[in-house]
């Protein structure tokens, strides 16, 4: 039978749907892999073996009784970021304030996965409330990068990206507020897509920064990521910002791209994303990828987006401002932790003691920055000005997309850094998101696809491809074409990671 955990989601689905293997066998193979390696990787906060096997059994029974598969991914296992509500598993967001909390409802993403017959293996580790770029801000300890266990797997979705790179799951779900799908994808040699804002429902996704948060698909191949994209995307009346329009045809685009012809596609290279702070090996891999796109027939154009250099400061005002408001709900009254309720303290004191005990340092920093930026007297200079910069960034994108079909850049300026290297320097950590943030501020689609290894450290580099809003399919086409060319004669990229052994 070979090692089922090395197959792609599309291959696994084909084997399950043809009854060559059962969904239970596939789920068990991944649960065994998790048992063997997750002690070292720590991608999962919670593994639900019983629930996964029951879901797999239901897929097998339906197929055995002659039913058509519930979706193209029925029977395929998945790792779910612990920020999505699940009524049968804890949902902690990597925070002590939600330790052990089991929501009374499913997120729309969770529900769609279940209805599609996707087998949820468990919940993955993350920076607390998705605030971070390394997964070191989890209250439950860091996740390790399967390429080098001393290094970070990116963040905030480091659990999801590490689960993919360690072959613990062929599919994962992440959320991307400032790059939390794409940057982990880049540093673990996996694929991650941030759909257009509003493309995937936020219902049941615990809010960090509501105008930026976007759930999305992660995989080891572009096609797998596209297949998952179509399972979770689409209009949801329970999310008022959900776009009521057909899902962009990302699977068809991935298949078209895999034919390897990008003739007529105009690719813009963002001039501002290079230079100081960029690791030479990252830039070298990026430039090689651009040449590969040219060889595939794409027209390469240099494009200037002058306001992108202000995206980082604007983001680190807007996101904390929204977070300071959103996280006010953690008040020790209706769910979650309560500390210091001795019968004499007031509700306000209990609230302050609980939040002090339940939140980690990065969450506290962001709540305070946001509180400051929204204060009268500072509002215009900080939050108001950041919102204007946001407008200018959207205009930069609009002007660029007049000239080109997609924009490309490195996904993140460096490869995976060492655990502990940036924890005491918040600004250094924030620089990880330099290239990914503009797409969150403007709301358009963007993804990361692996583009080789950096010369100096042999670690994966990500190619970011950005597309206009609701033109998500464009980036999938380019990514799939690039992927085929990249792997020609070299085998699958993910298989180049060092063996973790078992």
């Amino acid at each position: 039978m070979g090692d089922l955990t090395r197959l792609t989601a599309a291959e696994l689905a084909a084997k399950v749907h043809s009854r060559e293997v059962s969904a239970v066998e596939v789920a068990q193979a991944h649960l065994d892999r998790i048992a063997a390696v997750d002690g070292r990787v720590h991608a999962f906060l919670h593994v639900d073996a019983e629930g996964a096997l029951a879901a797999a059994r239901a897929v097998d029974e339906a197929l055995d009784s002659g039913e058509a598969p519930a979706s193209p991914l029925a029977g395929v296992p998945l790792a779910l970021k612990d920020v999505f509500a699940t009524r049968d598993m804890p949902t902690t967001c990597g925070s002590k304030i939600l330790d052990g909390w089991v929501p009374p409802y499913d997120a729309t993403v969770t529900r769609r996965l279940r209805e599609a017959g996707v087998v949820i293996l468990g919940k993955t580790n993350m920076d607390e409330f998705a605030m971070g770029s390394s997964t070191e801000n989890s209250a439950y300890g860091p996740t390790r990068n399967p390429w080098d266990l001393d290094r970070i797997p990116g963040g905030s979705g480091g659990g999801s990206s590490a689960a993919l790179a360690a072959f613990e799951a062929p599919l994962a779900i992440g959320t991307d507020t400032g790059g939390s799908i794409r940057q982990p994808g880049a540093v673990t040699g996996t694929v991650g897509a941030k759909p257009t804002y509003g493309g995937v429902s936020r219902y049941g996704l615990v809010a960090f920064s509501s105008s930026l948060d976007q759930g999305g698909p992660c995989g080891r191949t572009v096609l797998d990521t596209a297949l998952l994209h179509e399972v979770i995307a689409g209009h949801d009346p329970l999310d008022s910002t959900s776009i009521d329009a057909p899902v962009p045809p990302v699977v068809a685009a991935a298949r078209e791209g895999a034919a390897g012809d990008l003739t007529g596609v105009r690719v813009g290279v963002v001039r501002e994303f290079a230079g100081e702070g960029y690791q030479p090996g990252v830039l070298a891999a990026f430039h090689a990828a651009v040449e590969q796109l040219r060889a595939l027939g794409a027209e390469i154009v240099e494009v200037s987006c002058p306001h992108f250099t202000y995206a980082l400061p604007a983001y680190y005002l807007i996101a904390p401002s929204e977070c300071s408001s959103n996280l006010a709900r953690f008040d020790a009254m209706r769910y979650g932790l309560r500390v210091g309720d001795d019968g004499s303290r007031s509700a306000e004191d209990v609230m302050a003691l609980t939040r002090e005990a339940g939140f980690g340092p990065e969450v506290k920093r962001r709540i305070m920055i946001g509180t400051y930026a929204l204060s009268s007297g500072y509002y215009d200079a900080y939050y108001g000005q950041a919102q204007k910069v946001r407008t200018l960034i959207s205009r930069d994108f609009a002007a660029a997309f007049e000239r080109v079909d997609v924009l490309v850049s490195p996904t993140t300026p460096t490869t995976a850094f060492r655990i502990g290297e940036r924890v005491d320097d918040p600004m250094a950590m924030y620089l990880s998101d330099l290239c990914t943030i503009p797409a969150n501020l403007a709301g358009n689609a963007a993804m990361s696809v692996p583009c080789g290894l950096a010369e100096e450290d042999g670690l994966p580099v990500g190619l970011q491809i950005m597309a206009p809003a609701m033109r998500d399919h464009r980036m999938y086409r380019v990514a799939a074409a690039y992927e085929v060319a990249r792997d020609a004669g070299a085998g699958r990229f993910a298989d180049r990671a060092p063996e973790l052994g078992a």
């Binding site: 909390w101 089991v102 929501p103 009374p104 409802y105 804002y197 509003g198 105008s211 009346p237 910002t241 306001h307 202000y310 400061p313 604007a314 680190y316 005002l317 300071s324 008040d331 020790a332 009254m333 209706r334 769910y335 979650g336 932790l337 309560r338 309720d341 019968g343 007031s346 509700a347 004191d349 609230m351 302050a352 939040r355 002090e356 939140f359 340092p361 506290k364 920093r365 709540i367 305070m368 920055i369 509180t371 400051y372 200079a381 900080y382 000005q385 950041a386 919102q387 204007k388 910069v389 946001r390 407008t391 200018l392 959207s394 918040p426 600004m427 501020l441 403007a442 709301g443 809003a469």
Partner: protein
């Protein structure tokens, strides 16, 4: 000159209902100062006549028919409560002695 003083950070923590310790205040004051000095760069952009963007997609009110649909049961709603009593959330006292 620092963008923010230790006292101001203490004030922010009170506003945000965070009972931070003195040691935390020492660390946070320095870190918040570095962050605020850095993000203040947004002020370099000439944007007086630029409208602000609060959301990437245009937002409109979304309505639905005013019909009853299933919600959480009382038991479900209380399932995560730190403390419940008589089918309600039990909370610490909300009024002071003098009130």
């Amino acid at each position: 000159m620092p963008a923010i003083s230790r006292d101001e950070v203490a004030h922010l923590a009170r506003l945000a209902r965070l009972a931070v310790t003195d040691e935390e205040l020492d660390v946070f004051a320095g870190q918040l100062d570095v962050i605020l000095q850095s993000v203040a760069r947004v002020g370099e952009v000439a944007a007086d006549d630029i409208p602000p963007t609060s959301h990437a997609v245009p937002l409109t009110n979304v309505f639905r028919e005013d019909v009853v649909r299933p919600g959480l049961s009382q038991q479900q709603a209380l399932s995560g409560a730190p403390e419940a009593e008589d089918g309600r959330f039990r909370v610490p006292r909300i009024l002071g002695e003098e009130q």
